[in-house]
Amino acid sequence: MSTKSKPIWVRSIVGAAAATVLVGGALAQGTPVKIGLLATLEGPFAAGGADGMRGAELAVKQRNGMVAGRKIEVIKGSSDAKPDVAVNATRKLVEQDKVDIMVGPLSGGEGIAVKDYAKTQPNITFINGGSGAQATTLVSPAPNFFRFNTEGAQWMAGLGKAALAKGYKRVMVIAEDYAFPYSQVQGFMSEYCKLGGKVPVKAWVPLGGKDYSSVIATIPKDVDALLVVLGGADAVNFLTQYENSGGDKPILGGSITVSQDVLNYKGKRRDSLVGTLSAGPLADAYDGAEWKAFVADYRKNYPVSAGGYPSPSLFAYVYYMNMKAALDGLDAVKGDLSGNQVKYREALSKMVLKTPTGDVRLDGTARPSAPPLSRRW
């Protein structure tokens, strides 16, 4: 045991020495500002997580790696969409790597767990990555946890109306069984059912499931369309299996179902997604000038040949927004994080964030309001 443990305290002595140096120099201008970046590089959202990292890096690159005269140092962490793994990775970034600001995590359940952890670290500012569960910032929020992306329920605005306009009167819901799809389905149903639509069946499937044949078998004949709120590998698996089993019902997509990280899986399934209605905070065909500039910038930095997508995915975009918020906030306080980051947090809560799809401001529950976009493939 003693031989095995030696590296720990060698490490910890080095760590302690580094910490002393950091504390001593933290107030001086020109020291790098450390930002922890957490996304899912493993598990069902691995592809989305990698693109989220690209989005966040893009925000750093646009500032040439500098903010208010301080260099930006990004330290990455990885999880696999499980809350306990996300908290362990966050704890490492905050307590071991001593980051000043934390950006992440990606998935809904993780966001809630990291928010709980944020309460134990009141001197660090946490900014959400891609997590879109409503409960993250609505139920017992942490004062130092911010979110600049809108959440799952808000993203679905407009889809119910669009579905009815298409003549879909009865819709079956197939969604993953965790916080983010709950918000999405809630957002869809509150609008759709108010306007007279019916949701006769809801199938909740486990996150990271591989076999959807039993769900496909329960799809009733008399529904007009399916609302599919699955992400990453789950969406690809479901769509492939649904098509192979001869399914032909029109599909309505959740915000992360019809996203670049799903569309770019190899196979012909992507062709059958053409024409699918979905709703989300971004639309690839949206033609605002700022959006176009953002997409062009993304393409330039991450060409398809280097593993990027033809157009940024939802994860790239929300990570970009949140990282941009973190950096804009730093700019507003001129890189001053002293006094336990109180000034920085004030700046964040008052900030009007300029994003490629419009201005975002927080509404007092650390929950942003921004116009959603419906889109069509």
């Binding site: 045991m1 095995k4 307590e95 965790y178 486990p206 996150l207």
Partner: protein, 388 residues
């Protein structure tokens, strides 16, 4: 691998097993009874109890034991709170759960993948009976009643799992315990009325006792250390007790032990219950460590991680579980710093593969091999050497 081959492989690995415990020097309390050859000339019997114990201690203690004891006690003072909590406490907790598997596998010859499930049952039971964020589910009992009942429920479940699986052997035991574990995972994933589904139960905190917040890094480390040491010495004690000797006999030849009048099933089920107790304590600590329990904590990946930890360290000795856990936690935490962030799982996998490839007995086996290579004289009397 066919069943017959499997059985042969299990047997050949254990052929040298009987008798090896007699020469382990670290725990001599029972050695006086089992290995008369090792009773030293200065008599123990004539002295008072305290002096006898002191003599036993003096005889069995070696420099390395004192070093390890000093190290684990002083560790939190040397390390940062992060290392103390995330590496130290987490290793001890995972080590305990792996220890419960090591006990079953090493001394009972039963490889159960459901040890994480037992730990999860304890964690869930505590969350449901005690307090958590889901006030409509948790019953809000005082923590000590909740913990006691959680242990009881987990031990009962473990005995039940044992009851179901003891009639199988080798790979079939693995299959049946895997099935039980996966069934429990899907139960907690899809049940909302008791287990709260994917979200699980959050805000599980150890109580504040004697003015100490037990989830602060250093108190939590010592809490874990105390439980881990208790589990370790419990296993060390039990394997020398008549029950443990009979269990090892059953491992090596169940038919002969049956013919001698020992109840094979009862001994095996009792072994499951005992391992369940150790796993349950680990499970409660793990729930406190994470401050939450979710289906992810009892999923397939964790069931296999526990097996990986046990195999990494080596199941031939209880300390192997903790050695394996330290390596596992260090890799999980720091592999991401060593290599390209997108590929760090490759490092973890390569290290595990290398260890198992070069030493089927895990790190303990590797250590024994190195010792026998570089100091031949010592190796002859080394207990680990004889295990190989």
């Amino acid at each position: 691998m066919s069943a017959a081959q499997w059985r042969r492989a299990m047997k050949s690995g254990e052929s040298s097993a009987p008798g090896r415990h007699h020469v382990l020097p670290a725990h001599a309390g029972a050695a006086t009874a089992t290995s008369p050859a090792h009773i030293p000339v200065y008599g123990v019997q004539g002295n008072s109890d305290a002096a006898g114990w002191f003599a036993v201690l003096q005889r069995s203690l070696q420099a390395r034991h004192i070093l390890v004891a000093l190290f684990v006690l002083l560790f939190p003072l040397l390390a940062t709170p992060f290392i103390t909590f995330q590496v130290g406490a987490q290793s001890l907790i995972l080590g305990m759960i792996a220890l419960s598997l090591g006990f079953l596998a090493g001394y009972g010859g039963m490889v159960s993948l459901a040890q994480m499930t037992v730990a999860g049952i304890a964690g869930y039971a505590m969350a449901v009976l005690g307090t958590s964020s889901a006030t409509e589910i948790s019953l809000g009992w005082p923590w000590w009643i909740a913990v006691a009942f959680a242990l009881l429920i987990a031990v009962a479940c473990s005995a039940l799992i044992g009851w179901l699986s003891v009639r199988t052997e080798g790979i079939y035991t693995i299959m049946i315990t895997l099935a039980i574990g996966v069934a429990f995972y899907y139960l907690v994933l899809q049940n909302y009325s008791v287990f709260n589904g994917f979200q699980g139960l959050r805000e599980l905190k150890p109580p504040t006792l004697l003015g100490i917040g037990w989830r602060e890094p250093i108190p939590f480390y010592f809490l874990s250390l105390a439980c881990a040491l208790a589990g370790y010495f419990l296993v060390r004690y039990v394997v020398r007790a008549p029950f443990g000797i009979a269990l090892q006999g059953i491992r090596d030849n169940p038919r002969r032990m049956g013919a001698l009048g020992y109840s094979v099933v009862a001994h095996r089920v009792a072994a499951y219950a005992l391992s369940g107790l150790i796993a349950a304590v680990g499970g409660i600590l793990l729930a406190w460590y994470n401050a939450l329990i979710t289906p992810g904590s009892v999923g397939m990946s964790w069931m296999i991680n526990i097996l990986v930890i046990a195999v990494l360290g080596g199941v031939k000795h209880p300390i192997g579980a903790f050695v394996g856990a330290i390596v596992f936690v260090l890799l999980q935490t720091f592999a991401i710093d060593l290599i390209d962030r997108e590929r760090f799982n490759l490092v973890i996998g390569t290290v595990f593969l290398a260890i198992v490839l070069f030493s089927p007995d895990g790190l303990l086996g590797l250590w024994a091999k190195l010792r026998s290579r570089f100091s031949p004289k010592q190796a002859i009397s080394s207990p680990l050497r004889r295990q190989l």
